[in-house]
């Protein structure tokens, strides 16, 4: 089976899930970004008492806050959740993830279990890693990448 068929047949479970940073809607932006920095993630998910996702707080929202509000870091994340967000089940096909991300321009998608509880994050990076795994030879046979600062290519 080819990559296209794999994308249709494989479920989101096949993707590497990122650890979820779960915060309360009342958590401050300062606290949320502290967690995001420590975990190296661009997104925190606000959840309710049952662990069900209410929305995402993203790096993009942080920039908007910093540009618009003097007290950005003291605000509650719950007041600045992304307008557009999606949660998918871990058993949903990868093709559904691709479709959602493309249609809604999303970077992250919250993955939930059968009870609707948030269990992880996936998205553009997870999908790129999945596709890249299908082409291990692509990096073996290609020349080394350029690094910034090279004045000219090496060789002839």
């Amino acid at each position: 089976m080819g990559l296209r068929q794999d994308i249709l047949n494989d479920s989101i479970e096949k993707l590497e899930l990122r650890e979820l940073i779960a915060v309360r809607p009342t958590t401050s932006v300062r606290a949320a970004i502290g967690l995001m920095r420590r975990k190296g993630l661009g997104c925190a998910v606000a959840v309710d008492d049952a662990g069900k996702p209410l929305g995402k707080f993203t790096e993009r929202a942080l920039i908007s806050l910093l540009m618009e509000h003097k007290d950005a870091l003291d605000r509650r994340v719950g007041d600045h959740l992304a307008e557009e967000w999606v949660s998918l089940k871990i058993t949903d096909p990868i093709s559904k993830l691709l479709e959602c991300m493309q249609e809604k321009g999303l970077r992250f998608v919250v993955v939930v279990d059968d009870d609707g509880r948030a269990i992880g994050l996936t998205g553009q990076k997870g999908l790129m890693e999945y596709v890249a795994e299908h082409f291990p030879r692509a990096v073996l046979v290609q020349p080394m990448v350029s690094r910034v600062g090279m004045d000219e290519r090496e060789g002839a």
């Binding site: 990559l3 068929q5 942080l62 596709v131 890249a132």
Partner: protein, 166 residues
């Protein structure tokens, strides 16, 4: 009279230099596209660039206004670095008021990887996925900046080729 030495016939001793070359067998059009296309088949522009002396606030304003995750820091076609939402999170957010008028060059990511416009999409994805770079500047044969790849453009390309492979 010298004894004539018979040289082996070419096909007896000939070793095909391609005998160990296994051509790629594609299972579908999507796989073929990812290997045989080059990054010029993907959307590489527009490119958002700022000068190294642009302030942090100005760079962030540009990202905010255009809804983009990163700007390239360049002088003309010469790439100096990249300033992204992640740089804002890790280096700026806690002290925005103190550094917003500083040049963005102080906070940009320097050691970034690039690819060339003749590289395949599979190669570009591999670099982005394995090296942890969300954005990949694309250079031409003269090492001049001609575009940038990010996750959104990669998703667009994958969706397009995925749908065409039906």
């Amino acid at each position: 009279m010298a004894k004539r030495v018979r040289r082996p016939a070419p096909d007896e001793d000939f070793q095909d230099p391609l005998s160990n070359y296994d051509p790629i067998e594609y299972q579908d059009k999507l796989e073929r596209a990812l290997i045989e296309d080059d990054t010029r088949e993907m959307k590489l522009t527009p490119i958002a660039t700022v000068e190294p002396s642009t302030t942090v606030a100005e760079a962030m304003q540009q990202m905010h206004d255009h809804g983009i995750a990163a700007v390239l820091v360049a002088t003309g076609d010469n790439l100096m670095g990249l300033f992204s939402e992640r740089d804002v999170l890790t280096k700026i957010a806690d002290r925005f008021d103190d550094v917003k008028n500083h040049p963005v060059a102080e906070f940009m990511t320097l050691d970034i990887l690039c690819a060339h416009e003749t590289d395949s999409p599979a190669f570009a994805l591999n670099v982005m996925a394995t090296q942890g770079f969300r954005h990949l500047p694309i250079l031409n044969v003269d090492s001049k900046l001609v575009g940038i790849l990010g996750p959104r453009r990669v998703m667009s390309y994958l969706t397009d080729r995925f749908e065409k492979g039906a």
